[in-house]
């Protein structure tokens, strides 16, 4: 990627963040839009899993009027206008900015050190060799540039018709601040309540993490962080936030967008079956699983995690290969819920049709107009 200057040694990299967190995701598989109060009530119910040092929401179907434009949510730390000017100059060099505005906030909500958060609706304006790369690749490249090279500016999200709202505080405070319950509707909402064991009261460090229309909310600590990070760096993904969630977001983008694998394959890479299990598979399955482990071993996510990943028309949840973190799924008609706690789901949907706990490494895949999510009930607990 352009614009990223490597330091001479890796020893100057900041530490990886460590956290334990609460997660919730909900999707309407018919694509019907609904407001934010479901996600807000659910995450409030598992307040104990957060400590007020970070909360955030990802919403899909957010900007129907601008659905063909990349929606960039960009924060400027300390409300620095000079940085905003730098970023805007960079944006006008590389994009056609159709519309931009400050993301409205509620001035009556008292919140920790809020940055200025602005949204831009843009179309890439590629020049020269850049014409050979796809729009998505171009956007990733420019987002990486802003994140790594422009100090005090950070892109919350960069997908079309979706957006991320996050900050330092309990998630319900962030929701109040951005007035999510009143202003927006979406057909997927994911939300995160953070319990970091490292310090930073930094808005960029909250979840969800996002690249293009991918968003990731995550609970856990990835022990393989260094391996995963260094593998992804070879392909131009530079982790600037030093939380393992960021690695997860880039790994998802690399495998699912760039390599084009479906989640069923990616999940075998993130949380592969044990060799003991693979040894007992039939030849074809064995070949597939062995090859995936051989080629993508550096992307095995080791250590405890639960993650909920979303993009347009799809949301999936998965937990690590030995299920050291919880995940529960629930379904009622065309609403599908994923959470780190069943209690969060029951709060907003007391009369579920189904509730189940999938095995480690077995993804719950929620797709538009499908019942694929029910497949994960097989062998579930």
């Amino acid at each position: 990627m352009t614009g990223y200057e490597r330091k001479s040694s890796e020893r100057y990299l900041p530490d990886q963040g460590r956290e334990a967190c609460g997660l919730f995701g909900v999707m309407n598989t018919s694509g019907k839009m609904f407001p934010g109060n479901i996600a807000i009530s659910a995450i409030k119910n598992i307040k104990v899993r957060g400590n007020g040092l970070g909360g955030g929401f990802a919403v899909y179907g957010l900007y129907p009027d601008y659905k063909d434009f990349y929606a960039l949510h960009i924060m400027f730390e300390d409300k620095r206008r000079d940085v905003k000017t730098t970023v805007e100059n960079f944006l006008t060099e590389n994009f056609i900015v159709t519309y931009d505005e400050q993301i409205p906030t509620n001035p009556h909500v008292n919140i920790f050190h809020p940055p200025l958060v602005w949204r831009y609706f843009v179309t890439p304006e590629k020049k020269g060799d850049e014409r050979n790369i796809s729009d998505d690749e171009f956007v990733v490249d420019k987002v990486m540039h802003i994140n790594t090279s422009i100090e005090d500016a950070y892109v919350f999200s960069s997908g079309k018709n979706m957006g991320v709202f996050k900050g330092v505080g309990f998630p319900e405070e962030i929701a109040d601040y951005f007035m999510l319950d009143k202003m927006y509707e979406g057909y997927i909402w994911t939300v995160h309540s953070r319990f970091p064991t490292n310090t930073p009261g930094w808005w960029g460090g909250a979840h969800p993490f996002s690249i293009l229309d991918w968003t990731v909310v995550h609970n856990g600590e990835i022990s393989s962080y260094g391996t995963n990070r260094r593998f992804l760096e070879m392909f131009g993904y530079y982790c600037t936030l030093y939380t393992d969630t960021e690695v997860m977001a880039y790994a998802v983008d690399y495998l699912m967008r760039r390599q084009g694998y479906p989640i069923e394959v990616a999940s075998k890479i993130f949380a592969p079956p044990m060799w003991d299990v693979i040894n007992r598979m039939d030849e074809k399955e064995k070949h597939l699983n062995t090859t995936l482990r051989m080629v993508y071993g550096p992307l095995l996510l080791n250590g405890p995690f639960t993650v909920i990943v979303a993009r347009h028309n799809e949301m999936f949840g998965i937990t690590d290969r030995i299920r050291l973190r919880p995940i529960t799924a629930g379904a009622k008609d065309d609403m599908v819920y994923l959470s780190s706690e069943e209690a969060a789901i029951r709060t907003v949907a007391p009369d579920l049709d189904f509730a189940w706990t999938p095995h480690g490494g077995n993804p719950v895949v929620v797709r538009m107009n499908s019942t694929d999510h029910l497949l994960s009930m097989e062998n579930s607990i």
């Binding site: 490597r6 051989m294 250590g303």
Partner: protein, 504 residues
């Protein structure tokens, strides 16, 4: 024998314990003990003693004690006893001083300045006695991408895969040729590798015909500058073919097997006349440049029909990172790097002790360079040179190695005591010799079990350490320098290693 030299060792015989059974006399190939029937007495010849301790451990009454000789020259920091004695030897012979084993000089051992991590609170450690802990490793070039098709039977991989060799733990026996070591020692390594599911390396002395069928699947066969023992079947019976460019103990020069060790069977395997010196040229005379290396790599791939990974082994020298990058770009599937503490059966002492760089720094530099260039997944990296325990090995993997070669550690497991006299062909332990009287001291059935035990104990230790870090697959520690910290290292050393200082 040299005149006017102090003996290196003193042999103390407790006469009240000695029963004159003459075991020591029979065990010492150097003639260190002799029975005099006229006087019915045992006598010792300290000037030939190499300190291998064979006599001391075989003495049934514990009558012998062999230790460094007490007499010394006037102490001098600059003119050490070793330097002093070397000068006297050279004044007498005009020759190059030979030695065996690895560099014994006090260069910093970085493994002793690196510490590993463990889980506390924020993630759980894993108990390897109760849960799976996976060390399986693949050596070779990995595909950049896979074509995966979803058909009615599920997902299927459509594209051709690069050849990879699967091993059950990331520890491989280093190149030790039949000729340098005895047939018994060579076979013990092969048997142990097969039992554990890893590899042994034939070195440049060929692979005896009768071993090819049974042990070829666990063999890395070398193609070195002397081309000894290389034929089509040799290449094709193996798992991996390795081009030997250099060796950590003697960067820049080729192998030396003195004619005394070229017995009939060794000669047959090397395809040379019996009793002739087997001297490998310093360079490979068909490789004077990186393009030439590429041609040999592809010649070997052609010869093996692209079914085997091709490895290139180099000594760790100053520009090792750039050289390794060139090797990968030349088409190698594996790069093996041998550091300054790597062992040898025979090398000029001046070269062994002064040339090359430590494997820790070389490995870190190579791994970083290959990643910076985006080609780390196009090869596997095997580190070699002085690995002493499973801690060293896991640290090497965290620095970025796919696997490590162990040579000296395996020899010690077989009985070696590092007396450094391998080049004499008189190894009292039956390892580094072709004398049938000595080599029959090793029974492959028994010695291979010792080697298996060594690997199994390391396997258990590695699993314990991995579990402590909350990691249950070796691939998740590979190149994971976040789990390493330096203690007692300077800034430039931490920079090269790419690890933080402890507490950072």
């Amino acid at each position: 024998m040299y005149s006017y030299l102090l003996p290196e060792f003193t042999i103390e015989r407790k006469t009240d314990r000695c029963i004159k059974c003459r075991v020591c006399e029979r065990q010492c190939p150097f003639g260190g003990h002799k029975y005099d029937p006229d006087f019915d007495a045992m006598s010792s010849f300290e000037e030939v003693c190499v300190g291998c301790q064979r006599c001391a451990v075989f003495c049934p009454t514990g009558a012998l004690c062999v230790q460094p000789h007490h007499s010394q020259y006037k102490p001098n920091y600059n003119w050490t006893r070793e330097k002093f004695q070397d000068l006297k030897k050279q004044a007498e012979t005009g020759g190059i001083i030979l030695t065996g084993s690895g560099n014994d000089k006090p260069y910093k051992v970085y493994w002793d300045h690196l510490v590993l991590n463990a889980s506390q609170v924020t993630n759980p450690s894993i108990d390897p006695l109760r849960e799976p802990m996976e060390l399986r490793t693949f050596l070779g070039k990995k595909n950049d991408t896979l074509e995966i098709e979803l058909n009615k039977e599920g997902f299927e991989i459509k594209n051709e895969l690069n050849p990879n060799k699967m091993i059950e733990l990331p520890v491989v026996f280093s190149a030790m040729s039949y000729g340098a070591i005895s047939y018994q020692a060579f076979k013990s390594l092969a048997m142990a590798a097969k039992e554990v599911g890893t590899l042994f390396n034939t070195g440049e002395g060929g692979l005896p015909l009768e071993m090819r069928g049974e042990y070829g699947g666990n063999a890395v066969v070398q193609c070195a500058s002397g081309r000894f023992g290389v034929d089509s079947e040799y290449l094709n019976c193996a798992s991996i073919v390795e081009i030997k460019i250099g060796q950590g103990a003697k960067p820049g020069i080729g192998g030396h097997l003195p004619g005394e060790k070229v017995s009939l069977n060794v000669a047959r395997n090397r395809m040379i006349p019996e009793g002739t010196d087997a001297i490998s040229p310093a360079p490979q005379h068909d490789i004077y440049s990186i393009e030439d290396l590429s041609m040999l790599i592809y010649a070997l791939k052609e010869a093996t029909n692209y079914t085997k990974p091709i490895s290139v082994k180099i000594a760790a020298v100053h520009h090792v990172a750039a050289i390794a990058s060139g090797i990968v770009r030349a088409g190698a599937d594996i790069v093996a790097i041998d550091g300054i503490r790597g062992g040898t059966g025979s090398a000029p002492k001046i070269i062994r002790d002064n040339i090359g760089i430590p494997i820790e720094l070389a490995l870190a530099a190579v791994d970083k360079r290959l990643r910076d260039e985006g080609i780390r997944n196009k090869c596997s990296v095997i580190a070699a040179g002085g690995f002493r325990c499973s801690g060293d090995i896991l640290k090497a993997i965290a620095l970025g190695a796919d696997a490590v070669y162990i040579g000296t550690a395996a020899l010690v497991a077989m009985g070696c005591t590092l007396c450094q006299k391998c080049y004499t062909g008189k190894c009292a332990w039956g390892i580094c010799t072709q004398d049938p009287y000595l080599s029959k001291r090793l029974n492959p059935e028994i010695v291979s079990i010792k080697l298996v035990n060594l690997l199994r104990s390391w396997e258990r230790e590695i699993k314990e350490m991995l579990g402590g870090m909350g990691i249950n697959a070796i691939e998740s520690i590979r190149g994971n320098r976040d789990h390493l910290r330096g203690v007692g290292l300077e800034g430039w050393e931490l920079d090269v290693l790419g690890v933080k200082g402890a507490g950072e």
